[in-house]
């Protein structure tokens, strides 16, 4: 037990080394900076607390997170649903694949002006922007995952006469879940980017709006602190995602470890 603890501790130390070095370097290099555009890290950190107080959290951070959550969930549900449909029907897949590849190749931010034309500049627009960017990785990965379900597993389900809903729930979905999670992970980082971008275009609140607003009013340390907050947010969300994935795909990681061992 003690050995395991020590190994975890050593791993954590290693993981923290580089960030600590980078922060230290930033601190030292910027410390005597007189440029108003790149203030000392000391100043940025000092403004962090007062800038992101309770008021701003409810006014900017919470709306951003709500948009992100809603858009992301929408994309996840639609992407997995459509992905199952397309993945299970070879004909449909052959017809749709070129179109899907084209749509995926479009950089999502380019859609913002178009979506603004149709959906206005409110929360709906931001939600659609986030969802339409997150959709593709989820959708295409789900299609791939469904297509790659093992033939022997399918024949097993058929020979035991599992009806279609049971096959979907107990075979196709779990078998595709490692791929689906890979898509969800890509979608998460895309979602954060689009959340910020959609708020920079037209908004009266949100993290993206706040950062641009600070920049326009020359509140440079505050702007920097907003960027730091975004970075932290991305980091925390990615950690949360990993936590969920570890739990949901525990069998998959175990299976892979057992294959490596043999």
């Amino acid at each position: 037990m003690g050995r395991v603890m020590r190994r975890i501790l050593v791993n954590v130390m290693w993981a923290l080394t580089l960030p600590a070095l980078l922060i230290a370097a930033w601190w030292l290099v910027s410390d005597d900076s007189t440029s108003i555009y790149s203030p000392p890290l000391r100043t940025i950190l000092r403004t962090f607390g007062p800038t992101w107080d309770g008021d701003r959290l409810t006014h900017d951070v919470v709306p951003s997170l709500l948009r992100l959550t809603a858009g992301y969930l929408l994309a996840a549900v639609a992407g997995i649903g459509l992905g199952l449909l397309v993945g299970l029907h070879a004909q449909l897949r052959a017809t749709l694949e070129p179109v899907l590849e084209f749509l995926r190749a479009l950089p999502p931010p380019v859609l913002v002006p178009i979506i603004m034309l149709f959906a206005g500049i409110g929360d709906t627009m931001k939600l659609i922007v986030i969802a339409s960017g997150c959709l593709w990785p989820v959708l295409l990965n789900t299609v791939e995952g469904v297509r790659a379900v093992d033939q022997v597993m399918i024949e097993t389900a058929r020979s035991y006469r599992l009806p279609a809903p049971a096959r979907l729930r107990h075979l196709v979905l779990p078998a595709a879940s490692p791929q689906i999670f890979a898509g969800l992970r890509q979608a998460l980082s895309i979602g954060i980017i689009l959340m910020v971008i959609s708020e920079m275009f037209a908004a009266s609140n949100g993290l993206g709006f706040a950062i641009v607003d600070f920049q326009r009013s020359f509140a440079i340390p505050e702007m920097w602190s907003g960027i730091l907050l975004l970075g932290l947010l991305g980091f925390v969300l990615s950690m949360l995602f990993q936590l969920v994935e570890r739990r949901a795909l525990a069998w998959y990681h175990g299976l892979r470890a057992s294959r490596r061992a043999s």
Binding site: S159, Y160, L162, H170, L171, R259
Partner: protein
């Protein structure tokens, strides 16, 4: 119980026509344990998939209890060679065995539990209910697959080279397990193998298949005593005589083709 009449399977595709199975006719009596043995690549798996209703034959019929098989029938369970791909790695052992039963709407939860318990006990896995298949050895995984098959309470149990991928000692144990399960449950078993010794040791009857395109080359009744064990049965002169006979048949089939 299981009747195969004039079964033929031809694969067509990309300008090539491959006749995997030419003309197979045989019958399994209720409660019989028969082995199908043939050279590798003689279409054994194709045949078994046709019997299981997973593959439509090009000609001929498969009848189970007098009914024509066109899709996987309810009274049949299949044990695959690739246990690692037939068990679902996201389900624990218990859930793997239970999954087919959960689709039987008329079956009570209580009865389901009983069947799972009993089947896992029958294959000697009382302590592995909560394990994932990939935490078990190959032989144990194949035991789980057998437990899943017998929990399904089939009339006919089809086994497709189930022990081809396990080591020799495990294999001997599993062979004895199949004999015991068959005797305990009175189920009809068709066991496909490329191993002549295995066929003679297990079967009451051995059907020798020819090379592809496949026909039944010979049927032998194995009149060894019902109580068999790895040491004495395999040393029995009649056992070696059967083995020699089948070996010659298979060699003859290969020569005939070449």
């Amino acid at each position: 119980m299981l009747e195969v009449r004039g079964l033929q399977k031809v694969y067509e595709g990309a300008g090539r026509r491959v006749e995997a199975v030419r003309d197979l006719t045989f019958t399994l009596e209720p409660g019989e344990l028969a082995c199908l043995v043939g050279p590798s690549g003689c279409g054994k798996t194709t045949l078994l998939k046709c019997l299981a209703g997973l593959l439509a034959p090009s000609a001929g019929d498969v009848l189970l209890g007098g009914h024509k098989v066109t899709a996987p029938p309810p009274g049949m369970a299949l044990v695959f060679q690739e246990y690692g791909r037939s068990l679902y790695p996201w389900l624990r052992v218990r859930d793997n065995v239970e999954l087919p039963l959960r689709q039987k709407k008329e079956m009570s939860r209580q009865r389901r539990r009983e069947l799972v318990e009993r089947s896992l006990a029958e294959v000697g896995l009382t302590h592995a209910h909560d394990a994932y298949p990939w935490q078990l050895s190959g032989g144990m995984q194949q035991r789980v697959a057998i437990a899943r098959a017998i929990a399904y309470e089939p009339e006919v149990l089809l086994m497709d080279e189930p022990f081809a991928a396990v080591d020799a000692q495990t294999r001997a144990d599993l062979e004895d397990l199949v004999r015991r399960v068959w005797q305990d449950l009175g189920v009809t078993v068709l066991f496909v193998t490329h191993d002549i010794d295995e066929a003679v040791y297990l079967g009451q009857r051995v059907l020798v298949l020819s090379n592809s395109p496949t026909v039944v080359q010979e049927q032998l009744t194995i009149d060894l005593p019902d109580e068999r064990d790895q040491l004495t049965t395999r040393a029995d002169p009649r056992f070696t005589a059967f083995r020699t006979r089948i070996y010659e048949q298979i060699q003859a089939a290969k020569v005939a083709k070449a």
